[in-house]
């Protein structure tokens, strides 16, 4: 098998060929290494761990076919730079963590290595996962492998997990980890024709994932297809004594749950999630997905989530508030960047200068607004009020899930947009990108983005499936049924190598 075809395989197909000994893990890893080396224009990988990968591959080759073999043996993955990996530079794409080498491994990545997966390197992202376009990264933006028909303009791969989505779409790894605080897995997946799954809050341990907004943050996979998402999610999930918010709930074999009949499934369509332009390819693709589900015997039910319009304002009070607290630890004392001080500077100048130099504009903006809404005199009006509205948003979902099993929405208002085209004058313009994804984070619910086809510009479009707590098997099975009929092919024209 030639190398181009090898890297087009996803997790399941690679696993099957490895098991049949038709390919070796070393051969597969080398094919990805070559692809990554040829794809520097995409700016997806910011730290390469090829020596480690080849050592892991060589070990995997000895294990495959023996009793010691685990579920991801010999599968090369990419890791978002938000996950701490022991002895591998980890910066959350921020200058303030300049040359930080974690002395420990995140639980999620440790679980992947325990399953004998191979680590190709760290993936680019928005700084501290704060952004929707990958443009806030200290490493510069990732470029989407997809381009509009007839245009050379570089497009965003989405954010914050833009390195992960671009790497999977461009065949630089079989799958990648992402994190999703307000849409950071699903929006990039939608923009790159990949499958992105944000699990239920508490499904994956947050330990060792650099914190942004702790009551929202959740890790999940970005993959080429739904089966791969199921395989990777199983490996990433489970209770962790090091994260008291991780749930002590058994992890199902998600792959086993696929290809089941969806007859009688009640699918909700919420009027609050409609696209502005009704006469668009995006709307037609959404309608096509509805028709497919209907033809498979699903029942389509109109539902209402009346507080949806308050989701973004709620999020932009609570997430910055949590961020302002979480990011207080970056003070220049123990690791990362430390500002050069004048002779008479005190410890206060050390903190203030370090943080001023180390954080980027968007991160500073969120720390400042978070500090403001938590400050004396404003706490009740903003933070406390937003916490109450968050309850109302969760109640909306509770009511709807009495009537339906799953909710179908667009993932994003538009397909991928050109780099530099949004949020330069008005930060809120960029925030609007997360309008359909943020509610699931506020309610802690699992949600998946599935590619459904291309729009008028020739760019991928995603639909979002939102489920009730712990309903990942249902989400994955519904997505699998849709995927089988839609037969979307993720094959952007290779302009970058």
């Amino acid at each position: 098998m030639n190398e181009v075809k090898l890297t087009q395989l996803g997790i399941k197909d690679s696993r099957d060929l490895l098991n049949k000994k038709e390919i070796s893990a070393t051969e597969l890893t080398n094919a990805y290494i070559q692809n990554i080396e040829e794809s520097s224009k995409l700016n997806a990988f910011i730290e390469k761990t090829f020596d480690k990968a080849l050592m892991q591959a060589s070990k995997a080759d000895k294990i495959i076919g023996t009793d010691s073999q685990k579920s991801l043996c010999g599968i090369p993955l990419g890791i978002k730079d938000l996950f701490c990996c022991k002895n591998v530079k980890t910066q959350a794409a921020s200058d303030i963590l300049e040359n930080f080498i974690p002395p420990y491994e995140s639980t999620v990545t440790q679980k992947l290595w325990n399953e004998q997966a191979i680590m190709l390197g760290k993936l680019n992202m928005d700084e501290f996962a704060m952004g929707s376009s990958n443009e806030t990264s200290t490493y510069g933006p990732v470029i989407n492998p997809w381009k509009s028909t007839g245009s050379h303009d570089p497009l965003t791969p989405g954010g914050s997990s833009g390195g992960s989505s671009a790497a999977v779409a461009a065949n630089l790894c079989t799958g990648a980890t992402g994190t999703d605080t307000g849409g950071s897995i699903r929006q990039p997946a939608s923009f790159t024709g990949t499958v992105g799954l944000k699990p239920t809050y508490g499904r994956c341990s947050r330990w060792g994932i650099i914190a942004f907004a702790s009551s929202f943050d959740q890790a999940g996979p970005i993959t080429k297809n739904v089966t791969d998402s199921a395989i990777m999610l199983k490996a990433m999930s489970g209770f962790d004594p090091l994260d008291s918010t991780s749930a002590k709930i058994d992890v199902p074999d998600y792959e086993q749950e696929l290809a089941k009949d969806i007859k009688g499934l009640r699918v909700g369509l919420a009027k609050e999630y409609s696209l502005q332009n009704g006469d668009s390819e995006a709307n037609r693709k959404l309608e096509e997905a509805i028709k497919i589900l209907n033809n498979m015997g699903a029942e389509i039910v109109e539902v209402s989530l009346p507080h949806t319009e308050f989701a973004l304002p709620t999020y932009y009070v609570l997430a910055p508030a949590e961020a302002s607290s979480n990011l207080a630890r970056y003070d220049g004392v123990r690791y990362g960047h430390r500002a050069k001080l004048d002779t008479n500077d005190s410890i206060l100048e050390l903190y203030e200068k370090t943080r001023s130099e180390g954080f980027g504009t968007e991160v500073k903006r969120r720390i400042l607004i978070g500090t403001y809404v938590l400050s004396s005199g404003y706490y009740d009006a903003y933070y406390k009020r937003a916490q109450k509205v968050r309850s109302l948003i969760k109640n909306d979902f509770d009511e709807v899930f009495k009537k339906v099993d799953i909710i179908l929405t667009p993932t994003t208002p538009t397909s991928a947009f050109p780099l530099g085209s949004k949020g330069t004058q008005d930060p809120v313009e960029m925030y609007m990108n997360d309008i359909f994804t943020v509610p699931a984070n506020l309610a802690g619910l699992p949600a998946l983005s599935l590619p459904v086809g291309l729009d008028e510009l020739g760019l991928p479009l995603g639909v979002q499936l939102i489920g009730n707590n712990w309903q990942e098997p249902l989400l994955l099975n519904t997505a699998f049924n849709l995927e089988t009929t839609l037969a979307f092919e993720n094959n952007p024209k290779k302009w970058w190598a």
């Binding site: 308050f310 304002p313 206060l348 100048e349 001023s356 607004i369 930060p427 809120v428």
Partner: protein, 95 residues
């Protein structure tokens, strides 16, 4: 505008972020834009509504409060040049 120049400087001080005079106006504009956006929350009647929680606690899963020995000091100190023996160094705090 709800956030005036003085408030910008106050929250910057609380956040321990130094703001230069040149960037203060832009920051003020952006923060006011965000405040204007989130003010929409004021339209909702929240009387009798509880603050959000995940509806469960893992209290039984909390680890035992026991002392463990962490012997990885060298790895931690590798992340800084500002050290003296096993300690981090900072500007003089006590006069």
């Amino acid at each position: 505008m709800e956030i005036d120049t003085e408030t910008v400087l106050k929250i910057a001080r609380l956040s321990r972020i130094k703001i230069n005079e040149g960037e203060s106006a832009d920051i003020q504009k952006d923060l006011n834009r965000i405040v204007e956006f989130v003010k929409k929350l004021g339209e909702i009647d929240i009387d009798g509504i509880d603050e959000f929680n995940f509806g469960k606690t893992n209290i039984e899963d909390i680890r035992k409060d026991s002392v463990t020995i962490y012997d990885n000091t060298d790895d931690i100190l590798k992340n800084t040049k500002n050290k003296n023996q096993d300690f981090f160094t900072v500007p003089k705090i006590v006069e």
